[in-house]
Amino acid sequence: MSDAFAILDLLQQNFGADTFIQQSTVDDIPTLWLPKEKIISVTTYLKTNIPQPFNLLYDLCGMDERDRSGKEKLPVKDFTVIYHLFSFERNSFIRLKVGLQGEYPSLPSITGVFKNANWYEREVYDMFGIKFEGHPHLQRILMPLTWQGHPLRKEHPARATEIGPYRLVNETIDREQDALQFKPEEWGMQRESDDADFMFLNIGPQHPGTHGVLRIVLQLDGEDIVDAVPEIGFHHRGAEKMGERQSWHTYIPYTDRIDYLGGVMNNLAYLLAVEKMAGITVPDRVKVIRVMLCELFRISSHLVWFGTFAQDVGQLSPVFYMFTDREKVFDIIEAVCGGRMHPNWFRIGGVAQDLPKGWDALVRDFVEYFPKKIKEYTNMVIRNSLFKGRTKGIGIYTLEEAIEWGVTGPGLRACGYEWDFRKKQPYSGYEMFDFDIPTAQHGDCFDRAVVRVEELWQSLRIVKQCLENMPEGSYKADHHLTTPPLKKYTMQDIETLITHFLNVSWGPVIPAGEAMSCIEATKGANSYYLVSDGNTSSYRTRIRTPSFPHMQMLPFVSKGYTVADLLSILGSVDFVLADIDR
């Protein structure tokens, strides 16, 4: 990680030593505070002017610092906007923070530097009321346009009971309906060109092809897509706000529901960040159990994608076969965790219980059964010439475009870039496993599909290795912050009894600090950026999900294709609305 900090010298040489204030964080990501006037020049510099540039805007989020305890030690003001940049070549992150003073402050927009900053800045505006000067279309993105207040500000109520009863009267209905009316002029769209009137087709929020409550307004010339505007937020449940109310422990089940096809993989992303702050290292058995469950969930998630993708291009049957196989995965997950889609099974410092007796037989049956099924599905779908006709050469983006728009996961690997956080920044013991990173070359819908199918094989390989090499040991770390706390010494001395009692009743107190985790989730890179001010719940929970930038890219990818292609593109992106909207 010493390499990661080399960039700081470079920055200080270029912008002067007093421009930046360095902050140390437990996740060892170089963190710099800088004045808002410098943000454009610094990000531009990091993106274009240095060798091994930070070319990916990984995440951009805001934070309300006004109630943070212990903030005197930091150069914080009222609000902070936090930029996470990532450099593939350096394999490291850099965190830039801009402190802002005032009730509704503003700062320059970096949409001119990073294209995918657009939606992130809209989200920060939506959640905090922070304005971005120079943003092309600063409008609410997750909340309804008619919403009063900005939810992630600390004064905004978190629960319905704090607001007062909701009444749906006719005027409200009319107002909400009007707000949903699409006005092309607002988005800088023409209603007609020299030789054609455009048709504006509203797809969703309820539409069989959108896999959830997603609305896309298409500007069509005949059946050709001129432009598209995805509208998200219908699935927004305030997951980040809930993180500020729930204890560190009781927030785990909420994470299950972010990428609801990823199950415990979401727990892992969250817990890695918590465990970094708490300073917990988990036993090997925990690591391997977690990896096994995550890979089973990756298989299950990819099966859902595979079936629904085939259905999107009109193949009716595969989805039934694949859901049947997904049940077989769920049988194992159910036997191990007790739950199916949202098992809520990982804990701070471990997992909820040890593996049940006979788990290995279940897993072994599946590992032996599944390969011939993958082959069958490859023949049925991937090798079908009509399927190829619908997906080859459709929805192409290049590697540079992918990075510009913040694409991670299979969508990035389909452009020929061998990048997988499991390999490049191994977490939870992935370095112990033997597997390949599948890639493809063309970056079209077909290649994205091929990469995912190949990932099924790789996940199966990992599960097999877990099965054969499951270490002995405890399923929980021997640390006072694990949840639920170990009971070993509870009845012997008063200190451990008190700790145990507080840990169970209030939940653990995670030491003040900041940490970000980064995992290769089913759909791309998933991160939890957590800020603790030494309390029983997090001060700020930021969830960076892969689907959000992928959906943002949709208009760019779908321009020039037809309505039918749009469905291929949507299917190949493999998004989950809960993962976009949180």
Partner: protein, 318 residues
């Protein structure tokens, strides 16, 4: 034949056809379920066969709604066109040597003319709905059906050349020694592909592609008006299967241990099942791909087939 006999034949054919079309709802759902590893309707009656009754009742008792923004009379008229035109086509189908409503001497031409009328129901229905999805579906449907009709007709002309008659009765009788499927295999394939496009079934269900256009041209329809489109589709499948059997598989001809109508029924049913199997297995090509295949591959192929058939026929007759 007396007038009464004609009346009975008409009524009988109508009765059987409508029941088959309704029964196909059940057949299709059960067969699809079988191929997709699930059960399908199995609650109402033995093997779930009463689902047909339940479905029909549901359709009858649903609110018969005409959207306020639709062109009311055209909206109502459109579904009747599809059922009417398909039923009219059955007029020329020889179920047995005796059971045929009218053995016209322009039989095949009549069939082609009637099935091309079917496109009106899609265009009118889609247009009158005044809905963007319906409009897109109607546009797709119109171009698809017009394109595929061209070589649907051409593919049948080979058989007509070999028989020397447009009469379907004559065509069946000409197959006593050898079914035309052996002499005209290319024509069979082209006709069947065109038939799928004509009935807009998966993989060619592009006018109603549900993952793209919700329900395409009939998005706004409900109740029995939707039911008419539904019945029209199943009648269309039956029609294409029946014509395929008549033109290429010897119609009612078969060994004598079964009566002619049973042979006809069995052969037709096999093709209906094939239609359903296609739906269970293939993805949908894109609209422009479908048109490209039609104009660039199938049309030249149909013409080539016609020329070769003509040349060979001339040579043999000397």
């Amino acid at each position: 034949m007396t007038v009464m006999q004609h009346v009975w034949i008409v009524l009988g054919v109508l009765f059987v056809l409508l029941n088959i079309a309704a029964g196909l709802i059940w057949v299709e759902r059960r067969m699809l379920a079988m191929w997709q590893d699930r059960l399908g309707p199995n609650r109402a009656g033995p093997l779930g066969i009463l689902i047909v009754l339940a479905d029909t009742l549901k359709l009858f008792f649903k609110e018969d709604w005409v959207p306020p923004f639709a062109d009311k009379w055209v909206f109502i008229f459109a579904p009747a066109v599809v059922v009417g035109s398909v039923l009219m086509s059955f007029v020329i189908i020889p179920f047995t040597p005796q059971i045929i409503v009218a053995d016209l001497n322009v039989g095949i031409l009549f069939f082609l003319a009637m099935s091309s009328l079917g496109v009106y129901s899609i265009v009118l229905g889609g247009w009158a709905s005044n809905n963007k999805y319906s409009l897109l579906g109607a546009m797709r449907g119109a171009s698809q059906m017009i394109a595929y009709e061209v070589f649907m007709g051409l593919s049948l002309m080979g058989v007509v050349m070999l028989t020397g008659s447009f009469k379907l009765g004559d065509i069946v009788n000409a197959q006593k020694d050898m079914w035309f499927v052996i002499k005209q295999p290319v024509a069979l394939i082209i006709f069947f592909i065109a038939g799928i496009a004509e009935t807009h079934r998966l993989p060619f269900d592009i006018p109603e592609a549900e993952s793209e256009l919700v329900a395409g041209y009939h998005s706004e329809y409900s109740g029995m008006k939707f039911g008419m489109f539904f019945i029209g589709e199943y009648l269309g499948i039956t029609l294409i299967s029946a014509v395929t059997v008549t033109m290429f598989f010897g119609g009612w001809l078969g060994w004598s241990f079964l009566p002619p109508w049973a042979w006809f029924f069995l052969k037709t049913f096999a093709f209906i099942l094939f239609f359903i199997l296609l739906r269970a297995s293939l993805p949908r090509p894109r609209y422009d791909q479908l048109m490209e295949t039609g104009w660039k591959i199938l049309l030249p192929l149909a013409l080539l087939n016609l020329m070769i058939t003509g040349a060979v026929a001339l040579l043999i007759r000397g």
